[in-house]
Symmetry: C2
Subunit: 137 residues, 2 copies
């Protein structure tokens, strides 16, 4: 899954949990979201480690939100599921010697891409799960 697909899938799952407001197992969530249950558990496991969802094993187990939707920011969802910076953009610097022209162009783009990433992160920090729920209902 691409980073952006992971993000939208996570939000689908989280908003489902927000609306249901009781423990839901991976099969139920997977059905609602339209994704394989095993794959979803891998995603929810990451969200759990970040403290966004709570999970319980056993017969009455399942997943629930670990905090209210207005305290869950898009940015933290992204950071939970992706180790790289938001929407990482890369340059090819394999063959560039020190101080070469190639390397300087690389630096230019790394700076540019870094600026873009900061803007994206700022945008995502301003959006909470509650914002999204309000908007789509």
């Amino acid at each position: 899954m691409s980073a952006s697909t992971k993000l939208s899938t996570s939000v689908k799952a989280l908003s489902f949990l927000a609306l249901e407001n009781k423990p839901k197992n991976s099969t139920e969530i997977a059905d609602a979201v339209g994704i394989n249950a095993s794959k979803l558990r891998r995603l929810l496991s990451l969200l759990g480690k970040a403290g966004i969802v709570k999970s319980d094993s056993g017969m009455l187990g399942g997943f629930t939100l670990n905090k209210p939707p207005n305290q869950i920011h898009l940015q933290e969802i992204y950071c939970a599921i992706e180790d790289r910076k938001a929407f990482y953009l890369n340059v090819n610097d394999d063959n560039s010697k020190k101080n070469s022209h190639s390397q300087k162009v690389n630096y230019f783009f790394l700076n540019l891409f870094s600026d873009i990433q900061v803007e994206i992160e700022n945008k995502m920090t301003d959006i909470t799960l509650k914002n999204i729920l309000d908007k789509i209902n």
Copy 2:
């Protein structure tokens, strides 16, 4: 090659042409940029179709810039080498039924990603090859 790598590779090649200011064949450019010549020709071919470089076959052939560096915008380089919108971000909408919750979340993200893309495009429209050359020298 990822979209962002294609872009930086293209700029490396174009800035090499700008500095040399005479026809250069694919082997020379490829050596300077650190990429396979055949691969580079595929990229330059796209830049040629967009009118950014001029190419000539034959013994005295090669590639030259088709307009001055201050008239070559990052945005048009990107459009030449990539058919999709700048840094396309996708959502998974395979299993979403009409008006379903899933689909609404998809729409939310499509809008968000579209906003981000517009911002990136604006940023790239403001940057010319000459800007880059001035900055890195």
